[in-house]
């Protein structure tokens, strides 16, 4: 598969997703870039803005396995990861895989579950394997977690801890669609039907191939140092309690590569970095004196990041 073919595939994937999620091409583009970079996605906004639709559209476009886990406060780690059960016939314990064993996992309302169940995802998301009792089971490749949460309703929720948030490559905030798109939505009311009618355009093998191609996208030294300076600035900012992690820096680079690839380029420009940095870094910086996880913190984080992006001289 050369890059021409890859681009054709990607444009089909993109149009596939955009048919069900109207007027959100920027967010779709970022989500696909993260998908190409192998980064998990956290979708965050009020209910009814299409978070689940986006997750399902991406998964439906790939002919891999798809599982959905509805996170509730009584969810247990075993319900997510799987459990050893005693096989009476073989007189031994056999592993019964949980819903995590799939190519794409949709973790719906992730902040509704207790921290135990949330942290069951930790190993899976970073090492792409799960350990149950004494055994370790590898997860399928590609493996992608798409989680959704509603930050505005904090009652009865468990905000994601820093370590968990850091595992997500990207946090996207889907706001209300613009006027035209919403009018179209109301008029056509295709929400229920269209996403079921999506045809897969990619097989898992092709996804692995695309990822290899994305990794080969050139990132010049000036861009690397630009990313470093942005990440460094989040750590020095006086209002920030905890700055972005090295994983965040790697995430910016990978997602920028994905974005460049989606735009048909084989190199990353500073513009790619400027577009990805807010989505990749905002949920990784924690402000001093703000309650964690709330919508105000997210907005303040975005303001700080845009200030940093304005202040750091971009390479020309």
């Amino acid at each position: 598969m050369d890059s021409q073919e890859a681009l054709a595939l990607l444009s089909r994937l993109r149009s596939n997703v955009e048919t069900v999620l109207l007027g959100k091409s920027k967010e779709v583009e970022l989500a696909l870039a993260s998908f190409l970079a192998g980064g998990h996605i956290l979708l965050e906004d009020i209910p009814g803005t299409g978070k689940t639709t986006l997750a399902r559209a991406i998964s439906a476009s790939i002919s891999g396995t798809f599982r959905r886990i509805q996170f509730t406060s009584d969810l247990l780690p075993q319900d997510v990861v799987g459990v050893h059960i005693f096989d009476a016939d073989k007189r031994s314990f056999t592993f019964s895989p949980g819903p995590l064993f799939a190519n794409i996992v949709l973790a719906d309302e992730i902040n509704r579950s207790n921290p135990r169940a949330q942290s069951a995802l930790l190993e899976a998301m970073s090492e792409r394997q799960v350990s149950v009792d004494t055994k370790t089971y590898p997860l399928p490749d590609p493996f992608l977690v798409i989680a959704t949460q509603n930050p505005f309703e904090l009652h009865g929720t468990y905000p994601l801890p820093e370590s968990q948030l850091d595992r997500f490559n990207l946090r996207l905030r889907l706001s209300y669609p613009d006027r035209e798109s919403e009018l179209r939505l109301i008029r056509e009311n295709t929400l229920a039907t269209s996403r079921d009618g999506l045809l897969p355009v990619l097989v898992p093998e092709q996804v692995r191939h695309l990822r290899a191609l994305v990794e080969r996208v050139t990132v010049r030294d000036s861009i690397v140092s630009y990313i470093y300076r942005i990440v460094e600035a989040t750590r020095r900012h006086p209002l920030v309690r905890l700055g972005a992690s090295p994983r965040g820096a790697i995430g910016v680079k990978g997602t920028s590569q994905g974005l460049a690839f989606l735009s048909g380029r084989d190199f990353v420009t500073p513009g790619d970095v400027r577009r990805t940095a807010p989505a990749v870094l905002c949920h990784r910086i924690f402000l001093a004196g703000e309650p964690a996880g709330g919508a105000p913190e997210a907005e303040a984080g975005e303001a700080i990041l845009s200030e940093i992006l304005e202040a750091i001289p971009a390479p020309v």
Binding site: T218, S222, P238, P270
Partner: protein, 721 residues
């Protein structure tokens, strides 16, 4: 300009300082020069109206149509003034300037008008500076400079608001202090260098209209007895005199500063001798008044205020005058006339102090110094009576002078109305009576004599070590030809502090006068010679200091000094290192990426062009964003920009270098775009108003944060809501 939003964004102090800065050029013009008063009044009215309109953010969208007709009216007024009014180019040009300023006050369109108004007020300042010698100007200048900082800040903020660049820049006090300190040091060094290398000529010589002339009256061609009373109550300063050779702690006294001599007396009035005027011989700026060189000489640096007459004041026994004074003429009888009246002058007089020995080589004065008015037999008898015992002219003069010390009294109010009355009947008068009486008495006794007028003494300023001569120091005395020279004889009884006109200046007044004297000396009447003196003096001081330091270091017992010097240097180095280290640890790393290849020239020029057009909102702005924003206003450049950007991106960030054809194409496109952006200025104005009338303007997406930026449009025309 953006009225409501601007007021919300810019702090009130900045808003006011900008407005005051705009109007500040009018103050010196109004107070210090004689520029057309109606013009200044119109500009002031326009300023007030504009400020009120700005403050109330009244809409004046349609008013801009009036700008061009108003400009034509202003130009016509200026032309009419040139043709029929003042007939002076400077006045007409300043009228035109005032007209443009008024229009801009009333109908500002964009922040560029703000900059232009600042520039206009600066030009007005220059015009005032060129035509004033007032110390008040310095106060205006200081205020103006202080306001400038606030005004620049306000303009920057306005521009930022206009380009959508966000809020007012936050002030960083530490940075500001550092900047001020550095600029002060740099400014001082630059001033010193400029001072040393730039040739200077006193501004006083260029003093022409429309500067105000503070004329000081007196010393006309003739004086009568009544002339002095009006003058005695006048406290205005006539001259300030420094005595460079005077020992410290000594103040000069009893010095007669002579402005005129009068030889002819017709019974009521003294007038000058009618001899033809000759030019005083000069070599460079050195005028020789009297050929003899006599030792020892004293010298006096005289700063004369502008006078309404052209007399040059010298001390009795003046040998030479130095200064750039033009052509000096003399009647040969002690009167020296400057070529022009009404300007402040500075010169140095060398004179022989009274009582010093002089060799006599001048010819005796002619008979006019012995003539008496008809019917002066009483005076002759009086002269014989008073001086019969004397054997020589000197003794005769002394006896004549003593004659006035008994039986006569000094009175301004109850003075005699004629010399005869003074001598024979009333015996009461003031300096002019005494001077005239003594002169006539000497002439009757056969000693050539004349009346001299000028100033006696003055107030010594201990603050600045100079003599303040006021109009109230005016005096008249007698000069007699004794022993081959004119000797000063003063019959008036010395009054000193008993004089009704004696008034001591207060400390504050002294300091004020001192600052004025410095202003006159170092600003208004500064000359090349003084500059050379100062530079050589500074140079010698520097060399002396160097020698002293070298001596201290080179001393055998100077280990302590050497150690101290080393410690001091190390401390300075450490301080510098600490400073740089701290500035390196700023919140954001500086510079673009390290180890990055430098920006090729065509790109760099395009980048600079976009930056100077205000497209670089912040350091983080990409060339791509700047170009797209600029192209949003110039859609005809769009095809070039869309071809240029991929090439540029690939060249700067791509894996492989461009082929030579591609890089030529990229450079060509970059130059094309740059030129297109330069020539856009005039056309963009027209098009932007058009885009307003046609509906929504082009919006340019900024991809990084998804914000939308509208291209700049004149805000006055923007509909509300």
């Amino acid at each position: 300009m953006r009225r409501t939003e601007e007021r919300a964004r810019i702090p009130g102090a900045l808003w006011f300082s900008l407005r005051i800065h705009w109007a500040f050029g009018l103050l010196p013009l109004a107070f210090l020069t004689e520029i057309s008063r109606p013009g200044v009044a119109v500009a002031a009215a326009a300023f007030l109206a504009g400020a009120v309109l700005d403050w109330t953010s009244a809409p004046r969208g349609g008013w801009h149509r009036a700008a061009s007709p108003l400009l034509v009216v202003g130009a016509a007024a200026a032309a009419a003034d040139l043709a029929w009014g003042s007939r002076d180019l400077l006045t007409s040009v300043s009228l035109l300037l005032l007209g443009i300023q008024s229009i801009k006050f009333l109908l500002p369109k964009s922040p560029r008008d703000g900059w232009q108004l600042c520039a206009i007020s600066f030009l007005e300042f220059l015009a005032a500076a060129a035509s004033t010698t007032e110390i008040r100007f310095a106060a205006f200048l200081f205020l103006f400079l202080g306001l400038s900082a606030g005004a620049m800040w306000a303009l920057q903020a306005e521009e930022a608001a206009d380009t959508g660049g966000g809020a007012v820049p936050r002030a960083r006090p530490g940075f500001a202090v550092l900047l001020l300190l550095l600029s002060a040091v740099a400014g001082f060094c630059m001033t010193a260098v400029l001072f040393a290398v730039t040739p200077r000529v006193g501004i006083g010589q260029f003093l022409r209209r429309p500067g105000t002339r503070v004329g000081i009256a007196g010393f006309s061609d003739a004086i009568s007895l009544r002339d002095v009373t009006s003058v005695k109550a006048d406290r205005r300063v006539v001259a300030r005199i420094e005595f460079p050779e005077l020992a410290a702690g000594v103040s000069p006294s009893g010095l007669y500063l002579r402005g005129a001599t009068y030889a002819r007396f017709d019974g009521t009035k003294w007038s000058r001798a009618e001899s033809p005027l000759e030019t005083v011989p000069k070599a460079g700026s050195h005028y020789s008044l009297s050929p003899q060189a006599v030792v020892p000489l004293s010298s006096a640096e005289i700063f004369l205020e502008p006078m309404s007459h052209s007399a040059l004041f010298v001390y009795a026994g003046a040998i030479s005058v130095e200064g750039a004074l033009g052509e000096i003429r003399t009647d040969g009888g002690g009167n020296y006339l400057l070529p022009a009246k009404g300007s402040a002058v500075r010169y140095r007089v060398r004179f022989a102090p009274a009582g010093s020995a002089r060799r006599n080589r001048s010819a005796n004065p002619d008979g006019s110094y012995l003539s008496l008015p008809p019917g002066s037999d009483g005076i002759r008898e009086l002269a014989i009576q008073a001086t019969s015992r004397a054997a020589s002219d000197a003794e005769r003069a002394e006896l004549a002078r003593r004659f006035f010390q008994s039986g006569f009294r000094y009175s301004l109010t109850d003075a005699a109305s004629s010399v005869e009355e003074f001598l024979f009947r009333k015996r009461a008068g003031y300096c002019e009576h005494y001077a005239a009486g003594l002169t006539l008495l000497l002439r009757a006794a056969g000693v050539p004599a004349r009346v001299a007028a000028g100033y006696l003494g003055g107030e010594w300023s201990d603050v600045g070590k100079y003599l303040i001569v006021r109009q109230s120091d005016a005096h008249a005395w007698t000069e007699a030809w004794i022993g081959g020279r004119w000797v000063t004889l003063d019959a008036t009884p010395p009054l000193g502090e008993d004089s009704p006109f004696f008034a001591r200046t207060g400390t504050i007044g002294m300091y004020l006068d001192w600052s004025r004297q410095r202003w006159n000396k170092y600003v208004v009447n500064y000359s090349l010679a003084m500059q050379a003196e100062a530079v050589s003096g500074g140079w010698f001081a520097l060399r002396r200091a160097t020698m002293r330091i070298r001596g201290a270091i080179g001393m055998p017992a100077g280990n302590l000094a050497r150690g101290g010097f080393a410690v001091g240097m190390a401390a300075v180095a450490l301080l510098l290192a600490w400073r740089t280290g701290r500035s390196g640890a700023s919140r954001y790393p500086r510079g673009t990426s390290e180890g990055d290849s430098p920006l090729p020239r065509p790109y760099a020029r395009l980048f600079r062009r976009l930056s100077s057009a205000g497209r670089r909102r912040s350091p983080g702005t990409l060339l791509e964003e700047m170009l797209l924003a600029a192209v949003g206003e110039n859609p005809h450049l769009l095809p070039d920009a869309t071809r240029f950007l991929p090439l540029y991106n690939r060249d700067r960030f791509g894996p492989r270098p461009l082929s030579s054809a591609e890089s030529t194409e990229a450079a060509r496109l970059a130059n094309l775009l740059r030129r297109g952006l330069i020539s856009r200025r005039s056309s963009s104005q027209i098009r932007s108003t058009a885009s307003f009338e046609n509906g929504p303007a082009i919006a340019v997406d900024r991809p990084a944060n998804g914000r939308r930026v509208h291209p700049r449009r004149p805000e006055a025309g923007r509909p509300k809501g």
